[in-house]
Symmetry: C3
Subunit: 330 residues, 3 copies
């Protein structure tokens, strides 16, 4: 597909965006961006993985951003922008030229407590509910139908989409929360004995640090006595379950439909692939990588790479899979 810029943009404008200040030799307009296969005159595409070289058409029309060491993969005819981090800079170009117009307005149809403190340049959508004592920082966007219960604090430049519920939470700056996420409800806290179940009131909060992203329909429960904490820069995909008292340190990547049970702690930079389950009360060391659908039932030392359910070191898991296949093929 091709995506065209709305305004007139020159190659020099594009280069300035990514902090390349050499004078451009070409003043022809840049019309937009495209995938490699749809590349054409005036468009920029990004070759960020050399496996995709086959997708580049032979016609040689357009501009390709890639790494200096992949220069030779690019067929003749194309203009090139050679940079060390092509995907990062391509993302910057998209962010700059396709920035969404944001109206800074507060819907008269929202229900906003007179004791809430709303910053400058804030958008609050139709039918939002903003409770007593809520604080919303400058430049934040609160989508239609979002409910922010009393005393929640939201930082600056947050982007909170529609139909989100937030209670018992403190949210940093530049946080994105997508449609229908549920933040801060009481967790699965009850005590079951011969006398039947009794609910254990949940008193902790959810602390979401700066630059976190939370996917659509994901659920993050408030802590019981402690807090549930989502560290700086962590990315959480759709339909993920984060139970009470879980701590995710900075820059974790939690893919869709993962479930993390109560009081488990993930170190910095842990990657949990899709549909992983992690038992409660565990410590997962920093930099661990957990293959899709794994079930982690034990503590993991730093930088472990595991797979399977129950999970094993990845090499052992691959070996078992290979062995079993062989045994039934014999």
């Amino acid at each position: 597909m091709k995506h065209f810029f709305k305004n007139n943009v020159s190659l020099q404008d594009v280069l300035t965006t990514i902090n390349i200040h050499e004078e451009s030799t070409d003043h022809a307009p840049v019309l937009g961006v495209s995938t490699l296969q749809d590349l054409d005159e005036g468009l920029i595409a990004c070759l960020h993985n050399h496996q995709y070289v086959d997708q580049i058409p032979a016609h040689g029309k357009g501009i390709i951003m890639t790494k200096p060491e992949w220069d030779h993969y690019v067929p003749s005819g194309y203009q090139k922008i050679l940079v060390d981090t092509p995907y990062r800079l391509f993302a910057s170009i998209l962010s700059h030229f396709f920035k969404k117009d944001r109206h800074c307005s507060i819907s008269p149809k929202a229900s906003i407590s007179p004791t809430a403190t709303i910053g400058k340049d804030v958008f609050i959508g139709d039918f939002c509910v903003i409770g007593d004592g809520v604080v919303i920082g400058d430049g934040s966007y609160i989508g239609h139908h979002t409910v922010v219960e009393s005393h929640v604090i939201i930082g600056q430049r947050c982007h909170i989409e529609s139909h989100v519920s937030i209670q018992s939470a403190q949210i940093g700056s530049s946080v994105t929360i997508k449609n229908g996420a549920r933040i801060g409800q009481g967790g699965f806290g009850f005590h079951m004995d011969d006398k039947g179940p009794i609910d254990v009131p949940q008193l902790g909060r959810v602390i979401i640090e700066d630059h976190v992203m939370i996917g659509a329909n994901t659920t993050i429960d408030r802590g019981s006595l402690e807090n549930t904490i989502i560290g700086k820069g962590t990315r959480i995909d759709n339909l993920v379950q984060i139970a009470h008292n879980v701590v995710l340190k900075d820059r974790c990547i939690i893919v869709a439909q993962v479930g993390i049970a109560g009081s488990t702690e993930l170190g910095e930079g842990v990657v949990a692939a899709g549909q992983v389950g992690i038992t409660g009360h565990l410590k997962i060391g920093k930099g661990c990588q957990i293959a899709a659908q794994s079930g982690v039932m034990k503590n993991l030392p730093d930088f472990s790479v595991v797979g399977g359910s129950p999970s094993l070191p990845a090499q052992k898991w691959l070996k078992i899979n290979a062995m079993l296949k062989k045994m039934v093929s014999a």
Copy 2:
């Protein structure tokens, strides 16, 4: 259970509904439908699987729809409607006689942009938000609290329930979307390197073709540069995750809690049972059948039948399971 018709209905009325135009020999009223075990005078039940023969009471009162070749399973006394596709026709009877009254009204409590185009006989519920340039086709139903963001196009006779979020999407005709589904938010698109995460803006859309059904709290992300596409007649259950750029061809069946990662393509008529996970960037051939909880990590040729995580041909997977059981029983 028994479900009674609200109006007076004769057997002839019932037969007309399913295009049987022979004159009915019995003019007694038909009172409603029931399960086989609750069948009684004046009720119709459907025997669509001969395993359920035991559920038929011995009393012989009522009407049974079934296949001609199962005629001999039906105890004496029952009136019979013998047709080749009993379940399909039983469904038609339910559709016809239990049709929901639909008020074609537009709530004065909805927030509707003056630039939206609303067709004839449309229902828009309380507190809906309909954005700029939205088009809603004739006869469509938009449940309470649903948010349709600007420039979304919705076809005719769609049934969209409550609390749904729709953005960056084009929706065909006769599409059903259930409560709380999230359509068209940005996907899990970011680039993580030594400098930390950077978001990659998502520019594609979600294209939903005619006769698709999407379950409650399911999430379908917009494409990044390409579109996410859900083909004609495809059925998606609750709590399913469809990532950016996924393509589902026509008549796929995606059961609850399945997750399909980015850019994967499913051919026509693929069946993914509950909690299946499919890795990104794969091609799953048409007619493939994927057993519950399988983890598909490789391309599959047409009509593959697989199970296990990582998935294997189903026969191999069953053989491994049997072998392992035997090994620990010895």
Copy 3:
């Protein structure tokens, strides 16, 4: 963490709450509760698992609730409350002293049918939609943005949070439903044959008995011809899928992201751990325990303990896992 009471509370007040009527020897105020590690002067913490003994600080300041037989674990200096069920009674103390103030008010911004019957001391939040013929019992709380479709019946003292959708349902008393749960939409009911898919209208309801708790973004479909039933005291966590016609008997525990397919029945007190999948049309006996991520594909007799996918008796499953690990380590 420490959580302080809002009012002045004495030790005697605390003991009265848990029905200990001996005269307290200490009239010093109790300031609040804490975790074991944050225990301090005037605070109460609960030692409900002797594995947590290490968390008790050495300083001896504060009050510890525990079992009489764990008395010797408590370092000297601490005041003690010795009771047979410390966690249950600690929960009672939290419930009593941290009770949420509930305003019994009906928002003028809600859309309430004139034919709905609303009990005494009911809270209805902003932008709720309450349909024709709905009944809401005394003391129930309906959070902002919740939609209760026509003819739904809700008992007394229910706590229904924000953004919930309820239709075709009958709900008992003291039921909790958390943010974004979807109750009573039509299930995954269609018939697919050579002629393509045809929807099967769903006519059953969802019956939720007393003291049930349902988690955030969980989906419970209405029955097709029968009802979907959730028995008394059952606890369901977040993001769980309960398909049409499922019956959960009393006091089941269904952990996050479990999926239960159509018409399956769970006996009393079944525990399904996180991400379990259970196939349709099964009978799971009472008291069964199903390990996390298991896939249950056969009926289970009462008190079965199973693990694995497909599931096996837990001992066999553990034996297989141990054997495989050994085979690749050799």
